[in-house]
């Protein structure tokens, strides 16, 4: 029995179908992620799980109970929002204690709980301060503290790191992940940030326009994207894509890219069903393109360096290949100059091919 089961849920706002017949299982103790651009339906799904909006169709199970008709307070779910509202006139202690006070717990019990939570979040030293005196990261930790103090069954996080600066976000990513593991609490994160999804979650549900596109382990989402959308959305820099025409000859297969040809005979099993002359999309990630100053191989592809982006230990090089820009990564330091001609090679084990019309992955 999954911890959370969304069974064929749909939601309309007026004429807009924001979630379309979604079925999704989330395991007990899992760190799950809903990933997608704005308008994907992430927030609406979280709000439906929390009971803040009700679905038009389908059932929501938490544990083995249908919770469709339960109000938020009885679902035993806590939600942390992007803009974390703390009570400004209360201390951090009282902010965390507030949901417990509603439960009529004894003062000593509340004190023990708050201190426990503060310890886990590393904010013990802040307990007597007012929220106004805290940094963004500290405030976010207090907001999380308040939501986990009542030990909910499920924790819902709606873009909890969006308002933090880049450095703090990286720090909080690791913190949140550690916290989730320590508490073992089933967690659903909604985010538009693919890196947050990759780094924090066990499984990712990639969404677009209310539709579930792919639900899989983080590794599989990255290595085996189901279609072009997932391929381009997950990974940074985004996967390079190039149009080509498949040409089948007697004993070999060629990809005609316009400015160069690529021998695709190696993939003939997987391209078997595709007719010669079909236009397809070739996908390759930046780390899977190698630059070669000397081209000794027969599959030599020439490109011109368009820009060089140093990122510290590595450098992203944008190359102009025909009319397309492709990006690759090289270790720093390097000896590449703008407008230099280079030869490149693709790692054949890392090649993806997509159907032009359906955008589904052929492999």
């Amino acid at each position: 029995m999954p911890k959370i089961l969304l069974d064929g849920i749909s939601k309309k706002y007026g004429k807009a179908l924001v979630v379309n017949n979604l079925t999704l299982e989330i395991h007990d103790g899992e760190f799950a992620c809903l990933l997608g651009p704005p308008g994907a339906g992430k927030t609406t799904i979280l709000r439906m799980i929390a009971g803040l909006v009700s679905q038009d169709k389908g059932n929501i199970y938490i544990g083995d109970k249908v919770v469709n008709d339960l109000p938020p307070a009885q679902r035993d779910v806590a939600m942390v929002f992007q803009t974390f509202a703390l009570y400004p006139h209360l201390t951090v202690f009282e902010n965390i204690a507030s949901p417990l006070r509603k439960k009529n717990l004894s003062d000593s019990k509340i004190k023990r709980k708050v201190e426990e939570v503060a310890e886990v979040l590393g904010i013990t030293h802040l307990l007597q301060k007012a929220p106004g005196l805290l940094s963004g990261g500290e405030r976010q930790r207090v907001a999380i503290g308040r939501s986990i103090a009542k030990e909910p069954n499920v924790l819902l996080l709606d873009e909890p790191l969006s308002n933090l600066d880049a450095k703090l976000r990286i720090h909080m990513r690791a913190e949140l992940k550690k916290l989730q593991r320590r508490l073992g609490i089933t967690t659903v994160l909604g985010t538009p940030d693919e890196l947050e999804a990759l780094t924090m979650s066990d499984r990712i549900a990639v969404m677009r326009n209310g539709e579930l596109i792919q639900h899989d382990s983080t590794e599989n989402i990255y290595d085996h994207p189901k279609n072009l959308f997932v391929a381009k959305f997950v990974g940074s820099p985004p996967m390079n894509t190039l149009k080509f025409t498949l040409e089948k000859e007697k004993d070999r297969m060629l990809g005609k890219f316009g400015t160069f040809d690529l021998d695709l005979t190696k993939f003939q099993d997987r391209l078997q069903k595709i007719e010669s002359g079909t236009e397809l999309i070739f996908g390759i990630r930046a780390p899977d393109i190698a630059l070669q100053p000397e081209g000794k191989d027969r599959q030599r592809i020439e490109a011109t360096v368009y820009t060089i982006e140093p990122m510290g230990a590595e450098t992203v090089v944008a190359l102009k290949l025909g009319d397309t820009i492709v990006k690759t990564k090289v270790p720093s330091p390097h000896k590449i100059d703008i407008d230099q001609k280079v030869r490149l090679a693709f790692d054949e084990d890392a090649v993806h091919v997509f159907d032009t019309k359906t955008e589904d992955a052929v492999f």
Binding site: D165, A174, L198, Y306, E309, P310, I325
Partner: protein, 363 residues
Amino acid sequence: MARVLLENLTKRFGKLEAVKGLDLEIKDGEFVCLLGPSGCGKTTTLRMIAGLEKQDEGNVYIGDKVVNGLPPPERDIAMVFQFYAIYPGMTVFDNLAFPLKQRRVPKPEIVKKVKETARMLRIDNILNKDAMSLTAGEKQRIALGRAFVRNPQVFLLDEPLTNLDAGLRAIMRVELKRLQKEIGQTTIYVTHDQLEGMTMADRIAVMKDGVLQQYDTPDILFNKPNNLFVAGFVGSPTMNLLGCTYVEERGRGKVIFDSCSLDVDKYRDVISKGKTGNEMILGIRPTDVIILKEKGKDNLIEGKVDVVELIGDEIIVDAGVGEDIVRAVAPRRFPVKVDEKVWLRFDMDRVHLFDKQTERAIV
């Protein structure tokens, strides 16, 4: 085109000294980035160059001229802001043409210039559209285009990419850099995002509390930071910074942290010259920490895996070492699990040491 020279530039707001005695030379055609956290004085500096703010002390030169007394329109600069101002109800063409019309440029020349600029910015296919109907990325390009079209001596850009989503920001970074190189315009770019600075600028001026910390190429900033602040601010994931004590044991120089001892004898001369005490901060980038599953010979540090984050083709591993966390970057397939014991080796050629008192780099 022109060089820009700032000489002892100082600005006070009441008691607050926002910029303190800043000397900076931006060469003709150079792309320079003013980088620092909010409140470091970067935007104030830019506004003083533009003439929107008057300095209390010091001089601003554009070309060979002191421009201290000149109002903004006479400085021949163009400024693009974070919040792109687009004239609503006007087409893209009219938006671009506006600054030229104001200067009473003849019509045929306006058409020619607008078309040229639009082609460069890849908005020539939308010239007749209503500017307000466009995407954020297109709007930002229009704002840039309006600045470019006048062909000013200096471009001043104030966090122009902040409002774009991550994917578009990555694309615009490349385009902006390429564009700047193509037209060779002197450009001063303000950002708090170290990645933007690193990837686009020829040189970066890192500022903190109104004081210039270091002015160097991205490469030097990354590899040879002057002080603790620059070391921590530039590079992602952030440099590991570990409090340590310098000792000389049996004639060899060592640093001790968390019951680990690292031999730094090869730096003994520099250390004895540079230090003000024995308390130091050891700095090592996550990419210079090698993780091993088995104990080897020298300079190995025992740790326990705390968090593993997938970031695409690599993983970030946080290892607990005593009271500290040491972060390392490892290849994607490196088999490592949470709570597992690992050994870390620091690349001793790439270790930094900072004086705890002065925070200056010793090694």
